[in-house]
Amino acid sequence: MREFVYHPPTFRQKLDAALAETRLRLINISRYPGQLVMEIIIPLVFASMPMLLGRATAGADAAANFEANTGTTNYVAYMLIGANIFTIVTSAFWHVAYWLRFEQETGTLESIYLTPTSSVTLLSGVALHSAIRGVGSALIAYFIGCLIYRVNPLQGDVLIALLFILVGLIPLYSLTLLFGAVVLKVKESNALINLMQWVVSFLMGIFFPIAILPKVVQLIALAFPPTWMINGVRSALLGVGFFFGEWYLDLAVLWTFLLITPYVGMWVFRRVENNLRRNEGMGQF
């Protein structure tokens, strides 16, 4: 028998473990293909509702009224972007909460806690899978939506828009750590996800500019990274106006979130983990 010597994992080994988690999630979802189709249809339906409502209430003036409030006449693209970024954001929360909750209930969560791979490493694997799924289906849904409603999907600064999405993903998944910690703590996910979806859609202004919100609510909304993500994309593509006037200033704010939120998320998550270990353990639900 070989002699056992423990070496802390290298970055490469951690990456390997995270990718194994991503692969596992992707294999899992590939065994429920119907769900992937739904993920593309839902944001389309979601964006259509306010669009049709707008046409019904504002009639021929819809575009002009909309421009007065938002700075763009293209309310179709505005709604499509809103619905699709909302999809990215909620699926992030949903995938992470569902991952923890499902594994807790089936019993595999204890199995992975037996291994030397940390939950944060695994979470980054889950996040990668979730980002591939979320961003992938959001892009597809956006292009299909633009085709259906006959607007140009590639107007404005497409690269800057993509940059806002990519940079925004890290603080987004850091927030999901906080959310995951709450899920572990209260041992519930469905009601939490429902509540979270309404709060999130409201705060990030999926169908309206946050400027129309009361001042206090605006401030809370600005403390929420996805608000910067969605506004960044809309400003880059439709020219609705960055919060700080220039794209790089807004992006810098997202970067600041990116540098701070992971540590806050990890700290809270680890505390909840240790709390559970001190009492009944991760496996009980």
Binding site: F4, Y6, R23, G107, S111, T115
Partner: protein, 334 residues
């Protein structure tokens, strides 16, 4: 030291909610481990024996870092619990909760590969080890099928396979033969013995007394969160101070009796007539290997043996002697 486990005065208190109504509850303390101390030597099969609710699983969850003990200390493979948890996780293979620890949507092989990655094995080694384990446990036919299609015994075997993936010096098994049928349970015990011969230390939890007797050199008997007896199986039995009794029935002559009396290790031997045949009762203080010599001597003296009933002291007797209760309703061997 590698392969060694030392546990010192480990305590675990669960805070649990007692439901008193639909939305009312009261928090109570459950003292699942009341100061457990153990020493498990490198290279042995150590049995953790105890009835339902004794605290076996709780102890294992503490030793595998799933739970933080309320107080006390432990060293596993030389690593200190709560301080070097990742080293402990890496150096222990554990089978806990059986089939519940597996991904049912994945195949057996995909499960092994996934857990191999979490133990930081490189892809090539993962593949090689998975195949090796699949072969060793005769899982070839089902290895590439989704686990949800397995029978519960096959799931149990895969859960055992998962515990082997990191090739750890210590293997901790929590009631691994649960839900296995007789031949599968026997096969699994044989594999455990082989793994032990290859050098692995094995901690084997069971509530089946005979299983511990067959497999383990040393055991700790746990009851209500306390170790009530610990040591070599032989010593524990002898500590009861009872002599071993073997009864043989058949056609046995006086000369055979005299030959038996000459054997070393025999305290007493008596021949009686019973229902038309002879019954030879042999009382001995010596363990094990007496029986083959006894049978050999008797057959040399033309005895015809029909029935042998060794009345051994069992671990069950040890448990009864300490607690005044029987170990469990069903302690028969599967």
């Amino acid at each position: 030291m590698k392969g060694q486990v030392i546990v010192e005065n480990l305590k675990k208190i669960y805070l649990s909610k007692q439901r008193t109504g639909l939305f009312q509850s009261r928090t109570t303390e459950v003292e699942a481990l009341k100061g457990v101390s153990l020493e498990i030597k490198a290279g042995e099969i150590f049995g953790l024996l105890g009835p339902n609710g004794a605290g076996k699983t709780t102890l294992i969850k503490c030793l595998t870092t799933l739970l933080l003990p309320t107080s006390g200390a432990a060293w596993i493979n030389g690593y200190k619990l709560t301080e070097e948890d990742n080293a402990i996780r890496a150096s222990v293979g554990c089978m806990l909760m059986g089939e519940r620890g597996l991904y049912w949507k994945l195949t057996g092989r995909e499960n092994l590969d996934f857990f191999g990655a979490l133990y930081h094995l490189p892809a090539g080694e993962r593949r090689r080890r998975s195949s090796e384990i699949i072969q060793r446990l005769h899982l070839e036919e089902i290895a590439d099928r989704a686990v949800e299609s397995y029978s519960s015994g096959q799931k149990m075997k895969l859960a055992f396979a998962k515990a082997l993936i990191n090739d750890a010096p210590i293997l901790i098994l929590d009631e691994p033969t649960n839900t296995l049928d007789v031949p599968s349970a026997r096969e699994l015990r044989e594999i455990v013995q082989t793994l032990n011969q290859e050098g692995k230390t094995i901690i084997y939890t069971t509530h089946i007394m005979l299983e511990a007797e067959i497999l383990c050199e040393r055991v700790a008997i746990i009851d209500r969160g306390e170790v009530i007896a610990q040591g070599a199986v032989v010593d524990l039995k002898q500590s009861l101070g009872r002599e071993k009794v073997i009864r043989l029935e058949g056609v046995i002559s006086e000369s055979a009796l005299r030959a038996v009396e000459q054997l070393p290790g025999i305290n007493r031997a008596a021949l009686a007539m019973l229902n038309g045949h002879n019954q030879l009762t042999v009382v001995t203080a010596e363990e094990s290997n007496l029986l083959p010599r006894l049978i050999e001597t008797l057959t040399q003296h033309q005895a015809l043996l029909q029935r042998i009933t060794p009345e051994e002291v069992t671990l069950e007797d040890v448990f009864i002697a300490h607690t005044g209760r029987t170990l469990a309703d069903n302690t028969s061997l599967q």
